[in-house]
Symmetry: C2
Subunit: 328 residues, 2 copies
Amino acid sequence: MKIIVDAMGGDNAPLEIIKGCAEAQTEFELDIILVGNEDIVKKSAQENGIDISKMQLVNTTEVIATDDDPQSVLKTKPDSSMAVALKMLADGDGDAFVSAGNSGALCVGGTLIVKRIKGVKRPGFAPILPHFNGGCFMLVDAGANLESRPEMLLQYAIMGSAYMEKVMGIENPRVGLANVGSEEHKGLELQHKAFELLKNSGLNFVGNVESRDLPYGACDVLVCDGFTGNMILKTYEGVAKALMSKVKELFSKNTKNKVAAALVMSDLKAMAKEFDYNEYGGAPIMGTAKPVFKAHGSAKAKTFKNALRLTKDYVDANVIEEIAKAVK
Amino acid sequence: MKIIVDAMGGDNAPLEIIKGCAEAQTEFELDIILVGNEDIVKKSAQENGIDISKMQLVNTTEVIATDDDPQSVLKTKPDSSMAVALKMLADGDGDAFVSAGNSGALCVGGTLIVKRIKGVKRPGFAPILPHFNGGCFMLVDAGANLESRPEMLLQYAIMGSAYMEKVMGIENPRVGLANVGSEEHKGLELQHKAFELLKNSGLNFVGNVESRDLPYGACDVLVCDGFTGNMILKTYEGVAKALMSKVKELFSKNTKNKVAAALVMSDLKAMAKEFDYNEYGGAPIMGTAKPVFKAHGSAKAKTFKNALRLTKDYVDANVIEEIAKAVK
């Protein structure tokens, strides 16, 4: 399997990216194509003793920054690592593409360069978030399309279910509709219509889900419009991160607390790991004609390796074929 | 000052409500009118040794349950404690009304029985949430009106600023607009138009705020439509609650962990208190012609007492007069 990698995307590129690639290459037997500035990538590999001799390296001159306009992937930066890599994927030079770079640009480029699966109205950005009991759920759409139509929510549910079943191994995934209350009549026109579509979809629809129930594993796939999803994603991540750092701070406050920390260290670490969205590697862009996977922007080598593993599973599981059959 | 109290509203009514009232009556020198089923209230007071002899008691026969339709306050339950109390407030029988009951019904009843401040388009449900650094912020609207127009968001900002300054003592409160990114062009038409209005409002507008920055004190008043606000509120509370209960679980897991817990107990309690939205007592319904205050549904006596204190401050600070001047 050949995976194309954006060597320049993310806060820790290229070092942590190529480090993750080197580990994944051996462990998962992948062919990796690094796309990025040849000089910078080679120098980083050399200085850090990372063997990239078995990876193909495609030279590009530009980089899409985190705060660049998403449209830059199409317009102003045609020789960016992301734009070139997406074209290579579209042209059949690899089986999948992974980037830790600009999410917006990846959604735009995935949709318009790699193109959509036939029948899919709009691809959705679909991060995997941890439940607080060891599991995880997919949130789709988390911001690829701020406004959504009911049919799009139905497709998000179909695509999310296929992914969670085939890649994450969850049998008969429970689909929830993000809403302000659990009763059927809650919400606005979008929720009313989407509820009807989901109820009659043949999916394992569990009804409206209030976001306060998400940490307790209320569903395996949560669907909503991109504006709402983005709010849920960032609140979920933000509160968890702020609280965990508070706990950390508490334990390093003084000697007494440090003693306590030593006693519970292994349990604390296990808990932190459970909540750590980095463990889940990232977010597929659901609905593109070939697998496009977003690794977390702050990904270090281990997280990026995880992302490569998930991408491999994404290809192996034929999720895209499954979706194509379901939406046509 | 005369405060009307819904003796039947909330998960712990009437016991914790009347207990909170008894404490507040002495501490804050309030006249309290309890509205609820006379027999039940009297029996609860007697059995628990709570002195309600100096409170007025108004008998009602019905109760609005948490899962009742919000419209029930107007239509099917005219003799409910909430409906009767709201009519009393509208008729001038008291200076403010506090209930731990059904939020939706309180918003509907507040708007249509107590009525709006002249010039206010729609009242907003405005919970106070903790920052994770000891402060707090107001989120408005958290669900009174699922759909909002830009002018409504401007009014939420005006009302929220007045409240946070006058009642919570925050000088020149920073107003943020909930959005998917910090740049001015982010979001949909509602956000674009609201941004313009807020920029030119004379308020201390700090621009778009991403929900991941809320725990770090990004603003003092966050404005958004009611659907978005409800998602943020429930995700914020849900994740914090789930994580804190995980920490608690960890510390009672075994003897070793219990020893550690004893060492950090006082710090842990202080942290839990910082995150505890119960500490902030609840949420005013901003924009009603007289103060209507929602105490947390799970309020115990201490939280309800806090709610009464905040309601007293709400009346004392003449916030409603301030708003009336600003919106006319």
